[in-house]
């Protein structure tokens, strides 16, 4: 553990190491052995060091540094405070697992050569770390763009396929539209001074301009986070990328957007307005419900997880929205509770979503199949991946005693306090919003049963699955690390909240103080009000399990006979009679029909080879994006009228411009 003052230097050292590893990859682009056995493991060690340094810096004072890079008069300002340190901790801890997995994942002959992948990968994580450290708008935007570009190259690593190029383009487009929003937001924030965040903190904006800055930040960072209605790139880009990259994007990159939003809302803006919180809350709820309903009807396992990321971002936004509203009314303890829920969910989502994305990567490598309808029964072929994925599945479904439940619990506790809001309508409407949160959380359980059940359980739906092999040792190690994280975050919430308290102390001036009665009991606000002890919970379940098992063994024989499945005595049972992904999603399609744009081709009863086809599409694509595309096309046609291709016409334009300028400038 380094001395407190040197944490920032150590983090910069790790970032330099990552860049060096990336460059080393460029010099040996096809040396798989070097890339997978040296560069990626070294990157993972660096990530661990970064996490340790960030953990060390959390409690201490903010450290800053000016790097003489960039343009002559615009050096990069870096600053490491509690908020940055928390997200760096998340980045380091999750990246360590993903890098170890990636060491076993990237292969020769799959799109981009491994050495180049290594470059993009390390530039990507280094730029994310620098985004979290940036302390002026210029550095922030440079690193933000580096992050977008490096991840674009990672997404399109299999660029020979047209749909992957298309996904990459959509991603790049929305990333830049969002970046414009962020740039304009900084423009509004900086007032008349320079572009360092220190100046922005000092500026006292009028409420109108503060609201403009808020709206731009929400738009810009929302586009990166996958907030409705800017989410369309996410389900395209995540499946297109290689699995470790999907994991990084979902687990860490979406969180940099959350970081940016928190930075602007609570650090750079000096005031909060109550209805900003309500706007974020409403968008968060819509995002969560939309994400989970769509994820329930997907039949591609990575798209399903991508939509589930949208849902989780929705939960985080709900927490932030509540925090803003509470803070605006000066209810700091409750703001701390809501913000803690949001931050806790951020780190939880980073762990379980990367675990699941990596598990799909192993499945993809073992079976070459991403469609849920062609998988099944992999728990017998790939026990390591299956059992570790089960932990992630239970965690993401929000089940106790794993980590997903803790943050949902905290969020619901925050909702239970919302009737105390001093506003006549909010104190009634906000508690009802909890119903939508609960519905989304319950649907997440449905989605994850579908995901896990169809991929890992049942009988293999294709004969080729019989040759599927389990993940290699590196992949297993990465998965074990992330699964252990899910369990640790689940059973030791008091320790985790102790870490998060540093952030809420910095942003809100108030900490939550997770427990009054020891490390085991999580009792935010007061022990009388609510308490939850996941460790005790786990112990009781394991104890009763053991006791029951022993009792059954002792009193009765353990006789067991293997036989073919009974299935009500139906002998002609085949693997194709199991529910497919479409079948399992059918109740959702029926209950939430207005959400979807569906096309169904039903076979007639007389078809010899009946085929059933259903396509489910996003209505927003037709309602929002295609009209925008049409308007853009129309405008371009108008602009094309100017383009004549004859030099005399262009000279006329120049002449007219000159005249107009003369007229105005004089």
């Amino acid at each position: 553990m380094p001395a407190s003052g040197s944490a920032l230097q150590l983090i910069l050292g790790v970032i330099l190491l990552w860049l060096a590893l990336g460059l080393a990859g460029v010099f040996f682009p096809r040396n798989l052995h070097l890339v997978s056995r040296v560069l990626f493991p070294a990157g993972a060690l660096g990530a661990l060091a970064l996490a340790a340094a960030a953990l060390d810096a959390l409690g201490g004072a903010a450290q800053s540094l000016v790097l003489p890079l960039g343009l002559p008069d615009l050096p990069f300002h870096l600053r490491l405070d509690a908020l940055s340190a928390f997200f760096l901790l998340l980045l380091g801890a999750v990246t360590a697992g993903i890098s170890v997995f990636a060491a076993g994942y990237f292969r020769q002959g799959e799109g981009t050569p491994p050495g180049l992948q290594c470059l993009y990968y390390h530039v990507f994580i280094a730029s994310m770390a620098l985004v979290l450290l940036a302390d002026d708008a210029y550095a922030f935007m440079v690193f933000w763009e580096t992050m977008a570009l490096s991840s674009y190259f990672l997404v399109t690593s299999d660029h020979t396929k047209a749909e992957i190029r298309r996904a990459g383009f959509l991603y790049l487009l929305i990333a830049h539209v969002g970046a414009i929003g962020i740039l304009l937001c900084f423009g509004v924030l900086h007032g008349t001074g320079d572009y360092t965040f220190d100046t922005m903190r000092a500026v006292q904006l009028a409420p109108f301009w503060a609201t403009v800055a808020f709206a731009l930040a929400l738009f810009g960072f929302g586009a990166k986070a996958g907030m409705l209605p800017l989410h369309v790139w996410l389900p395209e880009a995540h499946p297109a990328a290689p699995s470790p990259v999907s994991a990084l994007m979902s687990a860490v990159m979406l969180k940099t957007a959350i970081y940016g939003l928190l930075r602007v809302l609570f650090d750079l803006l000096h005031l909060q307005v109550w209805w900003w919180g309500v706007v974020i809350l409403g968008l968060g709820l819509a995002t969560a419900l939309y994400g989970v309903v769509f994820s329930a009807v997907q039949s591609d396992m990575k798209r399903l997880l991508a939509y589930s990321s949208i849902e989780n971002i929705g939960f985080i936004l709900v927490g932030i929205g509540l925090a803003v509203t509470f803070q605006a009314y000066g209810m700091r303890a409750l703001a701390a509770l809501s913000l803690t829920a949001a931050l806790y969910h951020s780190i939880n989502h980073a762990f379980f979503k990367s675990l699941l994305f990596l598990a799909t990567g192993s499945v993809l490598h073992a079976t070459r199949e991403r469609a849920l309808g062609k998988l099944g029964g992999l728990i017998h072929r790939m026990p390591w991946v299956a059992w570790l994925a089960l932990i992630g599945t239970l965690a993401i479904a929000g089940l106790p005693p794993l980590n997903g439940f803790v943050s949902e619990w905290l969020l619901l506790q925050a909702f239970l306090f919302s009737p105390t809001l001093p506003h006549a309508y909010l104190n009634m409407l906000v508690p009802v919003a909890a119903a939508a949160v609960v519905l989304a959380a319950a649907l997440a359980g449905y989605v994850m049963v579908k995901f896990y059940g169809v991929v890992f359980l049942g009988q293999p739906r294709e004969t080729s699955l019989a040759t599927a092999h389990d993940a290699g040792i590196w992949e297993r190690a990465g998965l074990v690390w992330l699964a252990a994280g899910c369990i640790a975050l689940g059973v030791a919430p008091v320790a985790v909240i102790g870490i998060i308290d540093a952030v809420s102390g910095q942003l809100l001036g108030r900490t939550l103080g997770a427990s009054a009665t020891g490390w085991m009991f999580l009792t935010p606000i007061s022990a009388d009000r609510a308490s939850y002890a996941p460790f005790l919970f786990l112990i009781v379940i394991l104890f009763v399990w053991l006791l029951t098992w022993l009792a059954v063994r002792y009193f009765y024989h353990g006789g067991l006979r293997r036989a073919p499945p009974w299935d009500c005595g139906f002998p002609a049972q085949t693997a194709r009679m199991q529910d497919t992904a479409e079948g399992f999603g059918q109740p959702i399609r029926q209950v939430f029909e207005p959400f979807f744009r569906m096309q169904r081709d039903l076979p007639t009863p007389f078809d010899a080879k009946p085929r059933y086809r259903v396509t489910v599409e996003d209505r927003l694509w037709y309602w929002l994006y295609l009209p925008i595309v049409r308007v853009t096309e129309m405008l371009t046609r108008v602009v094309t009228l100017l383009q004549r291709g004859r030099i005399s016409v262009y000279l006329t334009y120049s002449f007219v411009t000159l005249l107009v300028l003369l007229l105005f400038v004089r």
Binding site: I379, V438, A442, Y446, I541, W545, F584
Partner: protein, 316 residues
């Protein structure tokens, strides 16, 4: 903070729940038989079934994974934990800080996810069909149940079940219209969650209409016994939640021995009345088509939300 009498009361409560649960199921079935003018198998029948199943050899499909074998134990453990945190006799429960009302819903969700996964494990048509239906009922019933508990929590300013019961028991002279709505919602949810008519029929022999039974078709022997016992425990726990929220009178506060002794007959009487009421509801209603279930549960959900709104509008 853990007191010896409390610990004794806690253990008594768990053991009592585990032992009494099959009787409650037997009582409901017996009442139903009486209402149908049949003589009925007697209220001890579930015990005989359990004894028979435990003694039998378990037959396991070739395609079953360890998850399938572990699930009955997980279910049983979840239901025991649920029984431990719901106040049935007294409110001085050392386990009660371990899980509050929200965590209780989490326990039921954990059990449901496990049994749905186990149903998909064998890979039969009926298993996956049951899992899909169960999860559909679950995602609609879970929010409704949580909203009911939310209403009670808002009234009593706590999510700890023991505290909720203590505070509700001291308010007997104030009428809470929100609790009436919540009560109706809770009744509807508990019928659905316990696989009773009108959502599911526990005694059906028609595979196509099954939900819970379709999921456990592949289980036999001791595994099936544990699942049946867990189902009985679930019914017992749900009944106790209903009693604790809506009829908390008679549940002993603190750890006084006399109160606990008096609480036992009160509990038995309340359960008997509740079981009879459930049999009557099952008698007078018909099983719905599966796609009417979302409407039914959606109604329960809306009633629960309405209960919360009424509380916020009128009572706070």
């Amino acid at each position: 903070m853990i007191s010896w009498p409390g610990l004794v009361a806690q253990l008594t409560e768990i053991v009592l729940a585990v032992l009494l649960a099959p009787v409650l199921l037997g009582w409901v079935n017996q009442c139903r038989a009486w209402l149908q003018n049949k003589s009925g198998p007697g209220i001890l029948q579930p015990y005989r079934t359990l004894r028979k199943l435990f003694a039998k050899e378990a037959v396991l499909a070739h395609t079953a994974s360890p998850l399938f074998r572990a699930t009955p134990y997980v279910l049983f453990a979840c239901m025991c934990l649920a029984a431990a945190i719901v106040p049935t006799l007294g409110t001085d429960l050392p386990f009660s800080p371990a899980a509050d009302a929200i965590a209780l819903v989490g326990i039921f969700a954990l059990a449901r996810v496990f049994i749905a996964l186990a149903a998909m494990d064998i890979g039969t048509a009926f298993g996956t069909l049951g899992a899909r239906r169960e999860m559909m009922v679950g995602f609609l019933a879970e929010p409704a149940l949580l909203m009911v508990l939310f209403t009670a929590s808002l009234i009593s300013h706590s999510t700890s079940l023991a505290t909720i019961v203590e505070r509700l028991a001291h308010m007997q002279f104030v009428i809470y219209p929100s609790l009436a709505f919540a009560g109706v919602a809770f009744t509807m949810v508990s019928l659905a969650e316990n696989a009773r008519i009108p959502v599911d029929n526990p005694s059906t022999h028609l595979e196509l209409t099954m939900i819970h039974e379709a999921m456990v078709l592949e289980y036999s022997g001791r595994h099936l016994a544990l699942i049946e016992w867990s189902a009985a425990l679930k019914l017992f726990v749900y009944s106790c939640i209903g009693i604790a929220l809506f009829f908390p009178f008679g549940i002993a506060e603190g750890g006084d021995a006399l109160g606990l002794l008096l609480a036992l007959p009160a509990l038995v009487a309340k359960l008997a009345v509740g079981g009879f009421a459930m049999a009557v509801i099952e008698m007078v209603s018909a099983k719905m088509r599966i796609f009417r279930a979302p409407e039914y549960l959606g109604t329960a959900f809306l009633l629960a939300v309405l209960a919360m709104l009424i509380h916020l509008l009128l009572e706070s």
